[in-house]
């Protein structure tokens, strides 16, 4: 694919978007896992959310 004399500007633009979007997705997935693991650890210790505790 010949993108002409300004190909570098086009590739860098697309690469920057790819890197930032991939970074955002990676951060969101890791953060989600971290929060889910913390919640699971608390539940294993027998700590319940007030809403679920009062429902019992």
């Amino acid at each position: 694919m010949d993108l002409g004399p300004h190909a570098a500007f086009i590739w860098i633009s697309y690469a920057a978007v790819a890197v930032v979007v991939a970074g955002l997705i990676g951060w969101l997935l890791l953060d989600g896992r971290k929060q889910a693991a913390a919640l699971e650890a608390l539940e294993k210790r027998g700590i319940k959310r007030r809403s679920s505790a009062s429902a019992e």
């Binding site: 993108l3 633009s13 978007v17 930032v20 608390l42 319940k48």
Partner: protein, 250 residues
């Protein structure tokens, strides 16, 4: 009969619904972006004036559109927090801020990389570029202000006030190219100023990026709901321990 907003006021219900919706939104976004990339590189012509560099438009315009739309969403969420005290309004505002900042950064960066070959400069202090830079700083301000407060509730309220004050930047960005003489071209009119051969790839990319944002926003909101649950349970655990420690031994 409850409205959807009222139904989503229950975080547990939101978590159930978002878990079902998220894979679909993410999947459709990914498919649209892949298709949009194909159209952008292989099925759209070079511009008669800009040549191949016009291909930067297919990512620059969606990022620029999102930079404003996301701020609008933060403003609406902030209004929902301050006026209706909707339990998920602050979650939504907090989750959207870093994503909006990232898209604003990308709009500035891709615009700058488009500007150099077209205008001969990466940056010029004209009204459009400067107002978008201010929007980027506003995003950073929202994130920093919230982080500065230990009391989450007070931080949320003040951040919401700043978000609502800052919303005045949106019409300034939108109309800056009409009100002032700028190097930036006038706003994109999809039906009049974009050739049909470029309009379709642009619309597909814009829709794909918009859905990508909503997928990321939903995921970020889910993370935030979990974070608040963890925080509440830790506080509850500490309070329980303290209660036991202060009870007299029998």
């Amino acid at each position: 009969m409850q409205t959807l907003t009222q139904q989503l006021a229950n975080p547990t219900r939101f978590m159930d619904l978002s878990a079902r919706v998220l894979p679909w939104v993410a999947g459709i976004a990914a498919a649209l972006i892949v298709y949009g990339l194909y159209l952008s590189f292989f099925d759209s012509p070079a511009d008669y004036q800009q040549g191949e560099t016009v291909r930067i438009m297919y990512i620059h315009v969606p990022c620029a559109w999102l930079s404003m739309m996301v701020y609008g969403l933060i403003a609406v969420s902030s209004f929902g927090l301050l006026v209706f005290r909707h339990p998920l309004a602050d979650v939504s505002a907090k989750a959207a801020a870093p994503i909006g900042a990232a898209f604003t950064f990308l709009a500035l960066l891709t615009g700058s990389l488009w500007g150099k070959p077209m205008w001969g400069t990466y940056w010029v202090w004209d009204a459009r570029l400067t107002s978008v830079l201010i929007l980027f700083f506003l995003y950073l301000g929202l994130i920093a202000l919230r982080a500065a407060f230990e009391d989450e509730s007070a931080g949320a309220k003040l951040t919401a006030v700043l978000a609502l004050v800052g919303v005045t930047i949106l019409p300034i960005i939108k109309f800056s190219v009409n009100w002032w003489n700028t190097l930036h071209q006038p706003s994109t009119d999809f039906t009049a100023t974009v050739d049909p051969s470029m309009r379709w790839p642009l619309l597909v990319m814009a829709l794909g990026f918009t859905l990508l944002f909503f997928a990321m926003h939903l995921k970020a909101m889910r993370n935030e709901v979990l974070r608040r649950r963890v925080k509440a349970m830790r506080t509850q655990a500490v309070a329980g321990r303290d209660r036991l420690a202060t009870q007299p031994a029998e």
